[in-house]
């Protein structure tokens, strides 16, 4: 817990990925519409549901890079 500290300090640019879901969700006008529908579900609803998956996917590259860093020490 203490030994790896010096290597893990500082800002890691990969973390900028985390801002993507914020940008997507805060920009409400980009998804506040009905068309195109999928299976009768308006865009507003299925697009945000899709972002649940994309939001989790964005975490994966950072997660794996952190895990790799952990093994290498």
């Amino acid at each position: 817990m203490v030994a790896n500290n010096s290597k893990r300090k500082g800002f890691r640019p990969l973390y900028l990925l985390l801002l993507i879901p914020y940008a997507a969700m805060m920009w409400v006008p980009s998804y506040n519409r009905i068309e195109p529908m999928i299976a009768g579900i308006p865009f507003f609803y299925w697009y945000q549901m899709l972002w649940i998956v994309l939001g989790a996917a964005v975490l994966l590259p950072i997660y794996f890079s952190e895990e790799r860093g952990r093994d290498g020490q």
Partner: protein, 517 residues
Amino acid sequence: MNSPALIIFVALFAFVTILGFFAARWRRGDLNLLSEWGLGGRRFGTVVTWFLLGGDLYTAYTFIAVPALLFGAGATGFFAVPYTILVYPLLFAVYPRLWSVAKAKGYVTAADFVRGRFGNGTLALAIAVTGIVATMPYIALQLVGMEVVIAGLGINMSPTIPGIGVVHDFPLLIAFTVLALYTYSSGLRAPALIAVVKDFLLYATVIAAVIVIPAELGGFAKIFAAADPKTLILAPATAANFGPQSAYATLALGSTFALFLYPHAVTGLLSSSSRHVVRRNAVALPAYSFALGLIALLGTMAVASGVRGMPQYAEGFKTFGNQFAVPALFLHSFPNWFVGIAFAAIAIGALVPAAIMSIACANLFTRNIYREYLNPNCSPKAEAQVAKIVSLVVKLGALFFIIGLPTQYAIQFQLLGGILIIQTAPAVLLGLYTNRLNPWALLLGWAAGMASGTWMAWTNAFKVSIYPLHILGVIVPCYAAVSSLVLNLAVSLVFSWLFNGILRTPPRDATAEADYA
């Protein structure tokens, strides 16, 4: 009476009660220590933490209230989806640091951390009291979730007990007494085990609901066609008024930052066995968000099903308003026996967060009020004993809240709770990265945020948490938690700069950078 539903409901309830008492023996530890009783010994791995946090954050009340909002107000209610999307990047990036420092220093609450980081008992007290005040009405609301489904089963809420007379809310009394007893004896292990059962019931219900109900109603196209076209999406912004779109975005953003400041969320987080468990859960918990999104859509389905106008549900809607939408939809669409499973999922879904919230409040009171001010030299055993008793008192308080006061009060207080708890963000979240903030400045910022947030909610008679800001001649409706937090941050930063410049007192930080890794 719906007898098969009732039998299944009662049987499942009895089963989790046994499980709750049995939990004391699970992963046995010394329950006379606060970190064992109140944090499960910090030993929960990835899977248990997933169940525990899922049960903790996606509460019964959420599953009743979010679809009720879509049922009544339309698209605005869907803000719960972006909210739960944005929570996990934050959890992933920031909260492993809290886990690490809490483990290194033996912290049990967020206020413990603030006490250590800034060396100021008054600021820690403010953080602890905010946590307790914000959580109490939240516990009360779990009772509302339970009340709605018990009424939906057709159980007489106020039966005549021989020798006593009419007892109001009798089933709630029973359920909460049982809950209080096994929380007392098993601590956090009880909700952790029960959460597993709850999840199986919940996912079964959600899967059945999205298969059965749209088919019965003729598909999603018909469901959305039945909704009011004006509320199907948010009203567009105009040049003079951003309208519901800025309200939607700020509701999602404010709720995101508030969530993991709540004591019950911190308790769930700190009970995990490593910072990697926290990270893995940030990736895996969105599965619940997907379930929440589907459950939210039940509100729209309830509109299309026409349950509102059916005479057999009139009584329920009269008593519970839109919150009866989901129970009515289930009663209308499911075979009777499955209603028992679905309602049990909701009622048991109320027990899990109610237990964790009362434990979290007990931890706060014991650590940051009792041991800090009342009995600094108490033994670890006495500390755990106080926490157990406080968890009972907290549940009693919640019970009186619901039985003694109109439900509306609990809902309004909970709305206010989000605005209050977010004011701990500068001390807790910025505190994870710097000790250069002055604790008195943080306290001033906290006070400014509390006052302005409460005032904004008060101007809406505590019914709505959206307050219209006037920015450069444009009206921007904004969640009061967000605007008051901005004020809080500004005050905290400016006065920190001022105080540090004048006083030049070195930070009294009990933690070291290595503790956060």
